[in-house]
Symmetry: C2
Subunit: 362 residues, 2 copies
Amino acid sequence: MQRRPFLATLGATAAALTTGARAQEGGEKKLGWALVGLGSLSTHQLAPAFAKTKHCRLSSIVTGTPAKAEEWKKKYSIPDSHVYNYETFDKIAENPDVDVIYVVLPNSMHEEFVIRGAKAGKHVFCEKPMANTADECRRMIAAMKAAGKQLGVGYRCQYEPHHRECMRLAREKTFGDLKFIDAGFGFQIGDPTQWRLRKKLAGGGALMDVGIYALQACRYIAGEEPVEVIAQEVKTDLQKFAEVDETISWSMKFASGVVASVMTTYAFNGANYFTATCQGGRFGMDPAYSYDGLKGWTSRPDVKIEFPAVDHFATEMDAFAEAVIAGKPFAPSGEEGLKDLLVIEAIYQSIKEGKAVKVGAV
Amino acid sequence: MQRRPFLATLGATAAALTTGARAQEGGEKKLGWALVGLGSLSTHQLAPAFAKTKHCRLSSIVTGTPAKAEEWKKKYSIPDSHVYNYETFDKIAENPDVDVIYVVLPNSMHEEFVIRGAKAGKHVFCEKPMANTADECRRMIAAMKAAGKQLGVGYRCQYEPHHRECMRLAREKTFGDLKFIDAGFGFQIGDPTQWRLRKKLAGGGALMDVGIYALQACRYIAGEEPVEVIAQEVKTDLQKFAEVDETISWSMKFASGVVASVMTTYAFNGANYFTATCQGGRFGMDPAYSYDGLKGWTSRPDVKIEFPAVDHFATEMDAFAEAVIAGKPFAPSGEEGLKDLLVIEAIYQSIKEGKAVKVGAV
């Protein structure tokens, strides 16, 4: 708090009540979102997605780069009063036009800005991975709980229709009991200077960035938590991947006996799938995690997984907005983010120690 | 040798020379095969396959069950002089009508009968897995080498056209450098009293029996040997799988940096695949290891993997017969069988110790 003397907790709470009331009073009203961090995802996916939402509008921006601020102000008609940098960020508490803060910063900055968002009395939506460690997640959850505001994590696939249908097939046991999941996601990463290759900023490499999608798929298809993991890492480019993981293959078992075999990589394109093998058949997706072009399949001609494409970001933002407006808990929340980090920490520990590792408790 | 005083080494060598000469003198002549062990595979696959070969004929049978001997004698017109049991087996050395001994016994009996076949001066073809341990494989290889006869291992997929095409695509780098292999094979095993569920006879469970196909695929697609494995086992039926493994998921890395994520099971049907992810595309098979109905696929519409069905057993027996007739070394030989056992031993050790394990040297 000493770093941010201008943030009055009482003021923040009052603002929160105000925006909450505003959000709830009119179904037609769109929630105002502040985008924190104007990198590639914000520029190419999130900003354009607002136009496709029902309940969201881009209200404010937070950036450390004045030139970006100028560009966005013009492009999205954002008044000066709605532009913040990382120092002035906490003044957002006084802006009733901001209902939700969307943290799109490098992973290592998520904790700070989610907690500052909580203290500003705003609902917070945080990109995945939620943070670099499980402990960071715990502090973020506690801060949001103390603020009485919702915390959502940007697991866009959880609101994507093909994935939701796969969850339903698993939950309703359309193909019988689930037995095995095979999943992988990776791509060949470009620019060697980007923050995703710096451990301090990204927390890790492919696993933190894209392996988490495959891990997510295993967890939401299984509908339970992995209890033990064993993992193996390969590095072929020691310079590019000096600080973070390049390719990881891991196996994890769930208490029910379901097993998952999973991989992730920053070294090559192509792996973008999950397959659920059940007692009476199989279903899956390939490609599974791209922004578009997703394809579902099943082993039964009469069961299809086909849906029109949706904008993943617009869909998840609307889902979060609807939960906020209705005052209902949103999932995936911070606890979902924490659960992934617990598995990720176990995977890294398994690689480091060359041993099977139990997944830590929430 | 003391156990088998009736086997004269000199006589065996003479017989070997005789049959070798016979085989080589006429291209049209078919090699005489002795089937050792008349279980399900011999009954339903191998015996009918002889009629589909060019260079093989069923000459003799070896069985511990007199009733089976009677049945087979009638069905395949086998004279009494060509029927052996496990005690009289070594007299096969004196039968010039036997060129090749095909060992189709429970895994634990492979070593004994391959070595006895070697001492009988016959070429030997041995079902997979070659044996229960790498040391057994080493002794089998040494015995065959001492006998100067060929040893082949029944890896039927290595002569199946879809698999051979996949090997070619990998070797010729049609899709660029190989990066990752994802493979699995399993089925729901029936009769709980069968020898495959007894550790003493089978050496292990799903991994020894069907996981070895997925392991094989990884090795022949990669074209190199795995150097380290990590593995995880799940057991859901402690009674049925009291002695052997039920479901195993493992990862293995190769010296080049290629990684393979593999699974096997005796608990459920459906997993029957491999996928090779390369720098510039993907290819694979699903189903990959069944006796028929195999399907290949690639990520490029202009590269197809489509072949007419072949009888896997007739094809591999002919390939072995051709090598014998030509006097050329056959692959997959005993060393190939040994290499799989080295990986299998590393997988079991990894499960037992919960650790990453280096694959042993040949």
